[in-house]
């Protein structure tokens, strides 16, 4: 199988299989979560409250007072990674074309140099948070195989994408094929690992904001 044939498989059946597993998994997981139900809260909510589920979905993206100082690597690394990853994912023109191909939606992209910087920043941030995971006593204590697997699965698309873009290590076609395949691995793993937080974070933040908001606290 040549690199182009591998790429063709990755763009074709590979992508279809990965997206299918991802869609299947996300729906299954959401059913698993919501099927457990939530009892209606009978306590009288505060009449006015600065907090709510919707507010917390957004506000939890900001560090609470004092925490940035206590865990700078987690926060700054987290921001740089997530922003860099999002810029790379959503504003690299070939990626927009992928979304257009899937959904018909499209929007303007960013110049390649900007995306390049974002990708490098995201990769560096991933290594910084890995170093932190290996050295910080809490993270090290909490981490298991899945945490390192999720890290690797996140790194691979960025790394292969970067290498493909810069035509290093292997020729572009092979790298591009590996890039698409690594994304497919990520998609397959997403519903069944902690990577599912990309979906469930909106649910968990909403519940949190709702629980606190009822009591008059903006959480």
């Amino acid at each position: 199988m040549s690199a182009l044939e591998l790429l063709t498989w990755a763009r074709g059946d590979g992508l279809a299989i990965a997206l299918a597993i991802c869609a299947f998994g996300i729906l299954l997981r959401l059913f698993e979560i919501f099927s457990l139900g939530r009892k209606a809260d009978l306590s009288r909510p505060r009449e006015t409250s600065p907090g709510s589920g919707w507010r917390t979905i957004f506000s939890r993206s900001l560090p609470p007072p004092g925490l940035l100082k206590r865990s700078p690597v987690t926060y700054i690394g987290g921001y740089v990674f997530h922003i860099g990853f999002a810029l790379t994912l959503f504003f690299f023109v070939p990626h927009i074309e992928l979304v257009r191909g899937l959904t018909g939606l499209s929007w303007p992209g960013l110049p390649m140099q900007v995306v390049d910087i974002a990708a490098v920043a995201a990769i560096l941030a991933l290594f910084a948070v890995l170093a932190s995971r290996l050295t910080n006593p809490v993270k090290r204590y909490l981490s298991g195989f899945q945490d390192y697997l999720a890290w690797l699965l996140t790194l691979l698309p960025l790394l292969t994408g970067y290498l493909a873009f810069h035509h290093v290590v292997a020729d572009y076609t092979l790298m591009l094929a590996l890039h698409v395949l690594s994304v497919e691995l990520l998609l397959v793993a997403l519903p069944f690992t902690k990577l599912f937080h990309t979906v469930s974070v909106f649910v968990s933040r909403w519940y949190n904001g709702d629980i606190f908001g009822r009591k008059g606290v903006a959480s």
Partner: protein, 419 residues
């Protein structure tokens, strides 16, 4: 009957709900909850990472309520939680968590870890892994009416004392009163001034109020130990009294978890919304002030600060009222670092103060509050929770610190304009 492992695991299955499933699904092991938890910050021991305290509950969820977890268990890839593990987790779930909720406001994915610890304790207590101190306190609460064993006769003695000192009659079992006044064991035993203070304030405001012979105790060990059946029985006494006496509002005293128990958990434990209101005493004071029914004179001119009880402010939403009152009463009122909803716990909430096993750890983690007080340099600290007050008074003595503790209600009563 007996607590059993099976009853514990069954309780896990009962309490697991959609919020918990979403929380476990979202956790990325970032470790930030540890940085918000004084049991970690003051010990540096990663086993006190809040999310880690829930590991048995998480495994139970995964193996019971997720397809992959179930498959892993059927194929032997995942091992079920054992009774020994539950025993191992008991100190983590009871001794090193005060249900303060700080981790819950910090978690970047929005996990309400406190919500989960509260639920996990249902299984832990059903499996017989609650600490002895809490078991005894709960037993006393159910059997004698108060976790400290305080009986109605003790309250009656205090009533006599208050009537003699202030010259007003303390109403008991009065129907159709505006307020049903509750107390915590601590107020009955350690801070008798509370009843006098509340009486004077309500009388001055022209409000009618009463005590109830069968519902004087506001605390609820059932909530702390995590046994909803017992918590329901305890809160039911108050609800029955309030309904029988047809009061308009039940006042939760200066006690953190009592407020949570009656105000937020109460209706859910009883399975019905209440026909009366439930307010913390600070809310009542602030309402009266706003209505012009609480007039104050004079000020306390010493530098002082306010300790936010976790259940009152972060998990209760009462954080503006004490500040309005203190700004009026104390010109030298200074805020502590991380005040309001980001406050640090005294170290004795959530049943930890009733758990002798946890006492050395409780003293260690008080270093946080100690550092905050020292940073501010004040010698007076006001609070609105008798449990916080007792815990901190003990710890202040332990660390030989010359800091005076005051109840806010008592401070308000002292500056009541009685003209």
């Amino acid at each position: 009957m007996s607590a059993t492992y099976e009853r514990g695991m069954n309780a896990f299955k009962e309490v697991l709900d959609a919020p918990i499933a979403s929380f476990f699904s979202s956790c990325v092991h970032c470790g930030l909850c540890a940085e918000a938890c004084l049991f970690y910050t003051e010990t540096g021991d990663p086993q006190y990472t809040p999310i880690h305290k829930l590991e048995p509950l998480r495994r139970a969820w995964q193996q019971e309520y997720t397809l992959l977890g179930k498959l892993a268990r059927l194929t032997g890839l995942a091992k079920p939680v054992t009774d020994a593990e539950l025993a191992e987790w008991s100190p983590l779930v009871y001794d090193s968590c005060t249900l303060c909720g700080r981790c819950s406001v910090v978690c970047p994915v929005g996990n309400d870890i406190t919500y989960m610890v509260r639920k996990m304790r249902e299984g832990m207590s059903a499996a017989g892994h609650a600490p002895e101190g809490l078991v005894m306190a709960t037993t006393r609460a159910i059997q004698s009416g108060s976790p400290a064993g305080v009986k109605w006769v003790t309250v009656q003695a205090q009533i006599k004392h208050v009537e003699a000192e202030f010259g007003f009659k303390v109403p008991v079992n009065l129907e159709n009163a505006d307020y049903l006044v509750l107390m915590s064991s601590w107020e009955i035993l350690n801070y008798p001034e509370y009843l006098g203070a509340v009486g004077r304030i309500l009388n001055k405001a022209g409000a009618t109020w009463t005590l109830a012979e069968d519902a004087y105790e506001a605390t609820n060990s059932g909530i702390q130990i995590g046994a909803s059946d017992l918590a329901r029985e305890l809160v039911g006494r108050i609800v029955n009294a309030a309904e029988r006496l047809k009061v308009k509002c039940v006042i939760s005293p200066e006690c953190g978890h009592a407020y949570t128990a009656i105000r937020w958990e109460g209706p859910n434990l009883m399975g019905r919304p209440f026909g009366f209101e439930v307010k913390h005493i600070l809310e009542v004071l602030d309402d009266l002030r706003r209505e012009g029914r609480l007039k104050l004179k004079g000020t306390l001119d010493t530098p002082l600060t306010y300790h936010d009880p976790c259940q009152i402010s972060r998990r209760g939403g009462v954080y503006e009222q004490p500040r309005t009152l203190l700004n009026q009463l104390a010109p030298q009122f200074k805020e502590m670092s991380d005040s309001g909803v980001m406050n640090w716990c005294c170290g004795g909430g959530g049943g930890v103060s009733a758990n002798e096993r946890a006492e050395p750890l409780r003293m260690t983690v008080f270093k946080k509050k100690k550092a905050q007080i020292e940073e501010l340099g004040v010698k007076t600290m006001v609070t609105a929770c008798a449990n916080c007050r007792v815990v901190m008074e003990e710890a202040l003595e332990h660390y030989h610190m010359d800091v005076e503790m005051l109840g806010l209600t008592e401070l308000v009563a002292e500056h009541l304009d009685e003209s």
